[in-house]
């Protein structure tokens, strides 16, 4: 039995502890539900992350291949020259959303996918291999943004599941048993104190009765002595 250190075995403390154990038990239930909910969410996000990661790898392989074809057909000299003409760089916007109390980022990218004539270079003097490489890299950037969001959500969920699990375990195996033990301890102590006071009262009562009997005997003896005289 582990009693919470410094606890005074009083009725007020007992009432407070009973109230506390109710809160702890409710909290425990809620945290267990949160943990289970987060786990369900985690597996959903995990599946999504797997798909997104696969798509990302595929997009990367495709983009590299397209760039290599463009390098081969047009040469790095052309590719580097054309790359200078980039008109608008993609902008990333960060906001947040809430999944069961876990704040996760929401990443949106702007100006990633461009139309063929919006890339800044002239169409006549360039080739379709460059379009295809640019297109593949734009898709890749989109996938990177999605993967960044999904994988950050996954990391945040894992961290929160860990801490929720620790809280549930602490409540289940430490806080609630300790409070329960302390309540039991205080209950025993109070019962003991009750028994003590009953004994004390009985003893006092016995003493009082003894004293009353002695006084009565004394009064009777005095009355007998007065009659004789």
């Amino acid at each position: 039995m582990v009693v919470i250190r410094g606890t005074k075995p009083t009725r007020a403390v007992l009432i407070a502890l009973r109230r506390r154990i109710k809160v702890a038990q409710t909290g425990h239930e809620l945290l267990k539900m949160k943990r289970d909910g987060l786990m369900v969410e985690f597996f959903e996000v995990l599946n999504k992350a797997r798909t997104v990661r696969k798509e990302l790898v595929d997009a990367l392989i495709k983009a590299e291949q397209r760039l290599n074809i463009a390098k081969a057909t047009e040469g790095t000299v052309t590719i580097n020259s054309v790359a200078y003409a980039l008109q608008k760089e993609p902008a990333i916007e960060l906001s947040s959303r809430n999944i069961m109390g876990v704040v996760v980022p929401k990443i949106t990218a702007d100006s990633v996918q461009k139309k063929i004539f919006e890339r800044g270079y002239g169409i006549i003097g360039t080739s379709s291999a460059i379009d295809e490489a640019a297109d593949a890299y734009e898709t890749l950037v989109d996938k990177v943004v999605i993967a960044a969001e999904v994988e950050t959500v996954l990391i945040r969920l894992v961290k929160d599941i860990e801490s929720t699990k620790r809280r549930v375990n602490a409540l289940e195996f430490k806080v609630i048993p300790d409070i329960r033990d302390t309540i039991r301890f205080i209950s025993f102590a109070l019962e003991e104190m009750d028994r003590d006071s009953i004994v004390r009262l009985k003893k006092l009562k016995g003493k009082a009765q003894k004293r009353a009997r002695a006084e009565e005997a004394k009064r009777a003896a005095e009355a007998v002595a007065a009659g004789v005289a």
């Binding site: 291949q65 290599n68 074809i69 390098k71 040469g75 800044g120 169409i123 003097g125 080739s127 379709s128």
Partner: protein, 349 residues
């Protein structure tokens, strides 16, 4: 469009000397069967082989700045610029004029690179790495242009030149309009210049230039129709001129399947019919076939009149194709591209 004042040349124009020089220079080109052997070599073996060819000097000179595929690519471009410079140096009168008009594409290329570099904010040494002085403008002039602080300064420096009208429309936001204007100006000049020659072979050269414009426009249509761009925007990107301009102009903005059906029956269709399907993923394959078709057309024309500009055109196209083939093989091998893909891109006579 500016009016091009054509120089007047006395008749008959003598092509014997320049065609003789070209015949001699042609012997130094890499033979067609060598590409197959190069496909089986690794990059260092290809570099060693190129050291035994006319690329030796450029490889030796540039080996302190570059290595591997970078070295081969820069060396082949440097050699191309040297050879074209030599062609210009050994030609006079009309051949010189026509060669220069043809090579102005490299001036346009270099001006575009400088403008792009300035747009991006690259420094002059970085920009200089990507210049190929194979046209009229030499490296010194181009380096001076690259040293300018801004695009506006580059445009100001070119004021008074033939390129000025094309550069005047710069809106400060995108280079695409002036890049297209420069390319259109090049083809406008080329068509006018070739159209003005009365020499033997001039008509066929004009046919080639028009064919090149048609192929360029066709590639633009493939790229933009596949991307679903609206007709008016595509039409802005078509080069005026060419034999099929009106026809191609009508095909702008058509649904891709319908566009492909409309191409059936044209002379170039047989070279792309097996891969030009509505579900084609990479237009670059069609582009490679169309470019190969144009190169073969130039080679076919080059044999018509031995003492005309046509063998010179054939040589210039062959030289550019050689540089391009070497780069495709080397870059393809470096990137581990499948051999069939490299073979598809390499154009051999």
């Amino acid at each position: 469009m500016p009016v091009l004042r054509l120089p007047k040349f006395g008749k008959p124009v003598k092509y014997a000397y320049i065609t003789g020089r070209v015949r001699a220079m042609k012997t130094k080109l890499i033979p067609g069967e060598m590409y197959q052997r190069m496909m089986a070599m690794d990059v260092s073996e290809i570099a060693r082989y190129l050291e035994e060819t006319q690329y030796k000097d450029e490889i030796d000179t540039l080996s302190k700045d570059y290595s591997g595929t970078e070295l081969i690519e820069h060396a082949t471009f440097a050699n191309l610029a040297k050879i074209y410079g030599k062609l210009l140096a050994v030609s006079i009168d009309e051949p010189s004029f026509l060669i220069l008009e043809y090579l102005r594409r490299w001036d346009i290329w270099n001006i575009k690179t400088i403008l792009r570099g300035k747009f991006y904010g690259a420094d002059e040494t970085e920009i200089a790495k990507y210049l190929v002085p194979a046209g009229e403008l030499n490296m010194e002039y181009l380096s001076e242009l690259a040293k300018k602080e801004s695009i506006q300064e580059v445009i100001s420096a070119l004021e008074g030149s033939d390129l000025a009208p094309a550069l005047a429309n710069y809106d400060g936001k995108s280079l695409a309009p002036i890049e297209n204007a420069l390319d259109k100006l090049y083809y406008f000049r080329m068509e006018r210049a070739v159209g003005g020659t009365l020499s033997v072979g001039g008509g066929l050269l004009l046919k080639y230039v028009r064919k090149e414009i048609d192929i360029k426009n066709l590639i633009t249509l493939f790229r933009m129709n596949k991307a679903g761009v609206e007709a008016s925007i595509i039409q802005e990107n078509l080069i005026p001129g060419g034999k099929l301009y009106e026809d191609l102009n009508r095909l702008a903005g058509q649904p891709f399947g319908e566009f492909l059906r409309s191409l059936e029956g044209y002379p170039f269709w047989s070279s792309i019919s097996d891969i030009a399907t509505p579900d084609i993923e990479a237009i670059s394959r069609v582009e490679a076939r169309l470019k190969a078709y144009l190169i073969r057309y130039a080679w076919a024309l080059s044999n018509y009149h031995p003492l005309s500009i046509l063998p010179v055109l054939g040589y210039m196209v062959s030289k550019e194709t050689e540089v391009s083939n070497i780069r495709k093989i080397v870059r393809g091998k470096e990137a581990g591209l499948p051999a069939e893909l490299i073979e598809e891109q390499v154009v051999v006579a």
